[in-house]
Amino acid sequence: MRSMLRSPRHPVGHTPRVRTSVTRPVRLVGLSLAAAMVLAACSGGGDAAPAPAPAPSAPAPVPAAPPAEPFFEGARIEVIIPFGEGGAGDFWGRTFANALPNYLAGSPRVGAVNQPGAGGLNATQSFFQTPNPDSSSILFTSFSIYIPWILGAEGVDFDLSQMQPLLGIPANNVLSVRGDTGITSAADLLTTSGELVFGGRAPDNGADLLGYLSLGVLGLTDRIDVVYGYEDLGGLDLAFEQGEINVLQRATSSFVALYGDRVSSGDVVPLYSYGLIGPDGNLIRDPGLPDVPHLGEAYELIYGRAPSGEAWDAFLALRRITGPLGFAFWAHQDAPEEAVAQLREAVVAMIGDPAFLTDEVNARLAGYEFEYGDAMILAADALSSLSDANRSWIRTFMLDTYGVTF
């Protein structure tokens, strides 16, 4: 073994050390390595990174009555985004993190950090399990994280009902088909023939689940095939473009941005959205797509009567739960009362400030209303309100139709 490790051409023992011409580069190498390490260290956590420049129009702090003792005086808060950089959720996470110091008493430093992994479950798990009595972390979630928890999936070790909500942003998806299928409205779905293929990422993907449920509600599980395996939304978009799939589900704001002009030309036909929840608890149309029926109306278009039955009950229940807090910010279950109260006050001030509502924010909001205050707390409580009957219906449906266990 020893002979393998040494080259026979070089004698054993030291060669005399060559002086300055070699040691200077060593120092320079060391210096540049150190500099690079500092740079790399700046990537992790918001700590060492310089605070990013504020949004184009610097928001003016709203003069609410300052609390006697600002809880976050001199503090540092980390907003945890459980997805990769640059996603749709990233925008909300970072916008929130940038704006918060201007409204929160004590003007703490707030930075956003991405912790992707396991569809957001890793970061949520670690947030929940790490003690946080000084409320120095805030979690950002999307509803794809709620689904495994709501359905009682295996391996979920966090409890959303203990976390304290700060702000909610509704989310809605729209289901469309390619124009070349000849389908112009939901009513055509059962009267046309021709292959219909829905593209999904993974069968247990929380974001795709509502899509499958909607197919169940409309009785289309035999009519529309599902193909899984697309890596991400970009892959789905491309496949839709190619015609490899011809049924696509997309979030409303992305759909309008990406496909808006092709809807006008008839190349892409939105059939229905999952609907937002109106004041009486029933589905209403998406304000960003006022001409697109919601799922209940799509059912009527096909069958000529209002929807009913177990599938519809389960869908509506799940929609009521996941719609209002499609995206949400949460304080830790350990966070003390005054911290949460001050955070919530800051949120109210923030979303009421016209300077915060830039064009970009409004475009992303796509006509929805922020969820805050009591309505938001009720919505958060509702997350655990899915009835056992509905839950078991959903689990059975997914198992029988698509072979998926949660």
Partner: protein
């Protein structure tokens, strides 16, 4: 509107900052292109979009230039796409010709990058039909071709390469399944649930064994006593092989354009093609053309990868995925509508690419003599520091001690493979391609049933692959018949 930016000094300044960051990131082994971009995104959020894009493009364009330092000087891939450079580049470095190799690498990178940018300009309007024709079955075939190519060109017998690839496929399976719940071979560990990190695998397989070998032997990297410090000569050498550069850049653009293939195999395709087409080559023993080919392809692929990114909003490589996310953060949604309404932005991106490539080359060439001196340092002088850098890079993955444990385990595997003469490169390539292969296979069968095999492009590629594997056999038969 955007074209005015090009005369704006502050804009160019920001491009330079991006270039600087990109070069440093590419230089350090283990911090790949997409890692560097991810570092920059938090910093750019909130800046003017045009400035942010300048930074990001500057960064993106040049990680594939700076990575040559690590590949050539240390034999450790700086980014995933510069592994092929190691074969001849590191060999040259050990012959004391590291500066020449670096000069050639940078010049080839620059020309490749510029050609890639021009191709982007020319093709972005025409590439649509080609990209639309490449569906899941065709993409699957391309991935398989990638593995075959690597097994072929890596040193040693083809069968060893394939076994190494099989090992890589096995390791790649660990982690989440592409379209099912739960993980595979994760044994309940949350760490393994996300799979093995390619960064740690690469560092462990290449960096650790090489440093270990050098330290055990007490050698310098360059075994000769005189350094050949002619990086300008190396750069000039590139200009004497225009056809090779053009061929490699074309391969880079073509492969870069294919969404989902990733940036890992493009340099291998170029290297493999060069090995077959360059007459009288001594590839594997320090042939400068073995450096020129992969480096030109590597940079050209960034231009190619921008085509599906801008055309469809589908990332052509992992770094593009992060870039795309950044664009969307600024409300810029690439796609056919963007090209129609915002062609100025596209043009600005292309020109920025060109400028960034040129800046990076200049920067790297200036630093080359200093860098090449490292190969003359006694290994004990800097190897411990390098180990720390590798451990640091590994630790960035999840910032837990499991990262370091995995690094040492992979290092162990790497050392064994090195001393037994099994090429590690097919392992890594197969490892990164497992995800796409399984995904495309699932999609191909799910969507088309067995009919996916009878699609014309698929059949053509199967035939092509069979011919490649059979060609040494056929040659032997022909020789036998003549004798």
């Amino acid at each position: 509107m955007f074209l005015e930016l090009l005369t704006d000094v502050s804009f160019l300044g920001f491009v330079f900052v991006g270039v600087l960051v990109g070069t440093v990131v590419g230089l350090l082994p283990g911090l790949g292109g997409s890692t560097g971009l991810a570092v920059l995104i938090p910093l750019v959020f909130g800046l003017d979009p045009r400035i942010a894009i300048a930074l990001l493009i500057g960064m993106l364009a040049v990680t594939t230039t700076g990575d040559s330092f690590s590949s050539i000087l240390l034999g450790v891939p700086g980014t995933a796409g510069s592994q092929a450079t190691i074969i001849d580049g590191y060999a040259m470095s050990r012959q004391g010709r590291g500066a020449t190799a670096l000069g050639a690498a940078f010049m080839a990178s620059m020309i490749g990058g510029v050609v890639g940018a021009i191709a982007l300009l020319a093709l972005v309007s025409f590439a649509r039909p080609l990209i639309l024709a490449l569906r899941s079955p065709e993409l699957l075939m391309l991935c398989l071709l990638g593995i075959l190519t690597v097994a072929l060109v890596s040193q040693g017998a083809l069968i060893k390469g394939l076994v190494s690839a099989a090992l890589g496929l096995g390791l790649g399976v660990i982690g989440p399944a592409p379209a099912a719940a739960g993980g595979r071979f994760t044994y309940g560990s949350l760490y393994l649930f996300d799979g093995i990190s390619v960064i740690i695998l690469t560092l462990g397989l290449f960096a650790i064994p090489e440093l270990t070998r050098l330290m055990a032997a007490g050698q310098r990297i360059a075994e000769t006593h005189r350094l050949d410090s002619s990086h300008w000569r190396g750069a000039g050498e590139v200009l004497r092989h225009p056809r090779l550069v053009a061929q490699s850049a074309t391969i880079g653009i073509g492969v870069g354009m294919v969404p989902g293939l990733g940036g890992h195999v493009v340099d291998w395709f170029a290297y493999g093609a060069a090995k077959r087409t360059v007459k009288g080559n001594t590839f594997g023993e320090g042939d400068i053309r073995g450096v020129i080919a992969p480096e030109a392809a590597n940079n050209a692929k960034e231009g190619g990868a921008l085509i599906p990114t801008l055309l469809f909003g589908v990332p052509g490589s992992p770094a593009m995925a992060v870039f795309l996310g950044a664009l969307m953060l600024f409300g810029i949604y690439p796609g056919p509508s963007m090209l129609r309404e915002n062609y100025g932005l596209t043009a600005a991106i292309i020109v920025t690419l060109v400028i960034a490539n040129i800046m990076a080359t200049g920067l790297c060439l200036l630093v080359t003599p200093l860098g090449a001196r490292i190969t003359r340092l006694r290994i004990e002088a800097f190897a411990p520091a390098l180990f720390v850098v590798f451990a640091f890079a590994a630790f960035q993955v999840t910032r837990s001690s499991a990262d370091l444990l995995l690094l040492f385990l992979c290092g162990g595997v790497g050392i064994v493979m090195m001393y037994l003469g099994w090429s590690r490169i097919p392992l890594v390539i197969a490892f990164v391609l497992v995800g796409p292969i399984e995904r495309y296979l699932l999609l191909s069968y799910g969507r088309y049933g067995w009919a996916w095999l009878t699609r014309p492009i698929v059949m053509g590629m199967i035939l092509f692959m069979v011919l490649i594997v059979m060609s040494p056999l056929l040659q032997r038969l022909r020789r036998g018949r003549r004798a």
